[in-house]
């Protein structure tokens, strides 16, 4: 029994490392966008490989756990939830990579200056991700309801930002490239918020075996 607990702890720790790695990728991608730091952007792109390797490692750990203990009830749900969780985290890493690539391609800082809402939409998914991971490790099944609301805010911000960007394209065709890149980035941000929500929705399943759907 003790061995099983140690293995669970090891999986949790590895998972935390991955989530921190992915969250840092995300934040660094945003920073590379806003201050146009190409070195940082390249670094983010490089780190995606690391995140993928880590996901594989956790996958392997989970499979070994299943083979070794043939877990039941809570432990089984834990492993299943982790297997789904790493997929979500990996996606977040992928989105961050794409954002970093956009940062390399376009000098977006000037356009961003006229979009004060971008600050909010760039930070909200990070907060959601961080809260979802806290909920996952802390076992707070009610969190996803709060995150659903935040997700709606992100959706509304996305809509309003897209409108501003379309207006910008009409006004200043020279900036069409940047504007489209930003629309793309904002869509990625919205997807990351979705992933965070998905993670939070796994928590009721993890703790009491109920499937939350929102």
């Amino acid at each position: 029994m003790e061995f099983m607990e140690i293995d669970i702890q090891n999986i949790k720790e590895k998972l935390s490392e991955m989530s921190v790695l992915v969250a840092n990728m995300y934040m660094d991608a945003i920073r590379s966008l806003t201050v146009h730091d190409e070195v940082l952007a390249r670094e983010v792109i490089g780190r995606d490989q690391e995140a993928d390797t880590m996901a594989l490692e956790i996958d392997e750990m989970c499979l070994r756990f299943l083979a070794r203990y043939a877990p039941k009830a809570a432990e089984l749900r834990f492993v299943v939830a982790i297997l789904r969780l790493i997929v979500e985290l990996e996606r977040v890493g992928d989105h961050s990579k794409v954002m970093a690539k956009q940062a390399l391609k376009y000098h977006l800082a000037p356009t961003l200056k006229s979009l004060p809402e971008f600050g909010e939409i760039s930070i909200l998914p990070y907060q959601m991700l961080s809260e979802a991971m806290d909920a996952f490790l802390g076992g707070w099944p009610e969190k996803f309801k709060i995150l659903e609301k935040t997700d709606e805010t992100v959706g509304a911000l996305q809509k309003s930002l897209n409108e501003s960007l379309v207006a910008l394209i009409k006004k200043d065709t020279a900036r069409t490239g940047s504007a489209i890149a930003l629309i793309n980035i904002i869509r990625r941000l919205e997807r990351i918020a979705d992933h965070a929500k998905n993670i939070a929705e796994m928590v009721p399943y993890l703790t009491v075996g109920e499937v939350a759907k929102g």
């Binding site: 949790k12 590895k14 935390s16 490392e17 921190v20 004060p116 490790l137 802390g138």
Partner: protein
């Protein structure tokens, strides 16, 4: 503490049990002895009867004597034929049923006489029998009822019982006394031990060498232990104090257990540290401990924080980890390298222009006058720019290294006039490409102020120059008012608005150069840093807000040195 009742029971009960066992043993022995004696008596009477029979006395006489004996002492004689026919019985006259089935008769018949105790079929009383052959065909049986014997025995038993009772009572009295005595000793002893535990030197004595000695030894050992404990507690306290004061976070891990951590760790990691890493639910913190355990890295990023850690392994699962918060240091080092880069860049640019212009003039002595003037002008302008940059650097350095505020009497209106000349109409820096096309509105009270005038001038010129250079709107409003204890200076421009994120940083040196603001609007980039330092030496502050004109208002509050408390 053992209660008296318990002590009493401990002494008394075993004694009573022993007494009762003794009583039972005596009773048993007594019964056996008396039975033997009775059997002997019965045998003797059989022998006497046999003698009578052998004496061949007249039959009737013997029979009468036998009957008399039976009447007097209860001994009964019976003569039986070899087939069990009763020939004579001293108690019963007349016919009796044959006694052939009686066990004593059967035993006598085979010459193995025995004593038998049983209920008599004839008299109905408990009787002991003995039978033996007189001749080949006559058997004599003697018997006696056991009533007397039984009553004697009962009497004896009663007496033994009474004696036992008296003894038990005596033992009870003794037990009571002994238990009282023991309990007292015990209580005194426990009081003494408690005192010894507390480290009391003055202990009660018992009139027993061993007890006193043991108590003394105990007390000495305890004193020793208490002393050691105090020492350890002191050491612990000292260690705890040192660990709580150091700037590093210290964590001691044993497997998954967090055996010790100081307060600073919680500050560095920004969360409560539980007793075991298994209880950590924050992924950031858990990843820190995972990294520590696997010692893959020694530098981590949690959000905005940069954390370094060192570790020392005591053995396979005991681990000491020391966390350093490097966020500020990293920030400072990047700030420093920025600064050096900026300073050298800012010095290099005008210097290159000076060198270039000088070189052209030197190489071409035949140059026409208008050309020569143009290059000389460039040379002069850039030398001026270099000079003003160095002036700013020097004044900033002075403000930083020798900050002193002097209460120098001056008229605000005079100071303002002086500043007007400096900033109007051409701007402070000669050769500045930006024309001053803005109208400046000056609002001030004609009062006497007590500040070092150079400082006030420096604040105002820097702020006004700043507004001229960076604002796009047509209007600048300068206001200087003397409030209760401080001078309030504000310079409002008409935009564009400086974003929130830059408001704090704009007061850093060379900020304008390195960040968003326009590069070709030259300035040393030190102006606002100088303003901030001046505010600091006057115990004041600087602030930046948005205003109604859609621009920024820089506020400076200076306390007069006269009012320094």
């Amino acid at each position: 503490m053992i209660p008296k009742q318990k002590l009493f029971a401990l002494i008394w009960l075993p004694s009573v049990v022993a007494l009762l066992i003794g009583l039972a043993l005596i009773q048993d022995k007594n019964q056996k002895d008396s039975q033997e004696q009775f059997e002997k008596l019965l045998f003797v009477s059989w022998r006497v009867a046999k003698l009578g029979y052998e004496a061949q006395a007249p039959d009737e006489e013997i029979k009468a004597k036998a009957r008399q004996m039976t009447e007097e002492i209860g001994f009964r004689l019976t003569l039986l034929s070899e087939v069990g026919q009763v020939l004579f019985d001293s108690e019963v006259n007349g016919e009796l049923e044959p006694h052939g089935d009686r066990p004593e008769f059967k035993a006598a018949l085979v010459d193995k006489p025995i004593f038998v105790t049983r209920q008599s079929d004839t008299t109905g009383r408990k009787t002991m029998y003995y039978a033996q052959k007189l001749t080949d065909n006559v058997i004599l049986r003697v018997s006696s009822p056991l009533e007397y014997f039984d009553s004697q025995r009962a009497l004896y038993f009663r007496q033994a019982l009474i004696a036992t009772g008296i003894l038990a009572l005596a033992v009870a009295l003794f037990s009571f006394w002994a238990s009282q005595r023991l309990a007292n000793v015990y209580r005194e002893l426990s009081v003494a031990v408690t005192l010894a535990k507390k480290g009391e030197k003055d202990l009660p004595t018992f009139n027993s060498g061993e007890l006193d000695e043991a108590l003394f030894a105990l007390s000495a050992a305890n004193q020793d232990l208490l002393g050691k404990n105090q020492e350890i507690a002191l050491l612990n306290e000292r260690l705890e104090y040192i660990l709580s004061k150091i700037n590093e976070g210290v964590v001691f891990l044993s497997g998954q257990n967090i055996v010790y951590h100081n307060q600073r760790v919680e500050e560095i990691l920004g969360c409560q540290i539980p007793e075991s890493t298994a209880q950590i639910a924050k992924p950031e913190i858990l990843s820190v401990f995972a990294a520590v355990k696997n010692s893959r890295l020694n530098q981590l990023k949690i959000g905005e924080k940069i954390i370094f850690f060192d570790q020392a392994r005591q053995n396979s699962d005991k681990l000491l980890v020391i966390f350093h918060d490097m966020t500020e240091k990293e920030k400072y080092s990047s700030y420093k390298s920025d600064l050096v880069g900026n300073v050298s860049h800012e010095l290099k640019t005008p210097l290159a222009l000076v060198l270039g212009a000088a070189e052209v003039i030197l190489k071409d002595p035949e140059m026409t006058r208008p050309f020569r003037e143009k290059f000389l002008n460039t040379l002069y302008r850039n030398a001026q720019r270099l000079n003003s940059l160095l002036d700013d650097l020097i004044s900033l350095h002075e403000l930083e290294s020798r900050p002193e505020a002097l209460a120098e009497e001056g008229q605000l209106s005079e100071l303002i006039e002086e500043i007007k000349e400096l900033v109007e109409p051409s701007g402070k820096i000669p050769g500045d490409k930006v024309p001053n096309d803005k109208t400046i509105e000056w609002l001030y009270d004609p009062v006497t102020i007590y500040f070092q005038s150079a400082h006030v001038i420096s604040v105002l010129t820097n702020l006004v120059n700043n507004a001229i250079k960076y604002s796009k709107g047509p209007k600048i409003v300068v206001e200087a008012r003397l409030k209760d204890h401080y001078l309030q200076i504000s310079v409002a421009d008409s935009g564009p608005v400086i974003p929130d994120s830059e408001r704090d940083r704009i007061f850093e040196r060379f900020y304008s150069m390195s960040r968003s603001r326009n590069r070709d609007r030259s300035g040393s980039g030190l102006g606002l840093a100088i303003v901030k330092h001046i505010a600091r030496i006057y115990h004041g502050q600087v602030r930046l807000t948005e205003n109604d004109m859609g621009g920024n208002t820089f506020w400076v509050f200076l306390t007069s040195p006269k009012d320094f408390s």
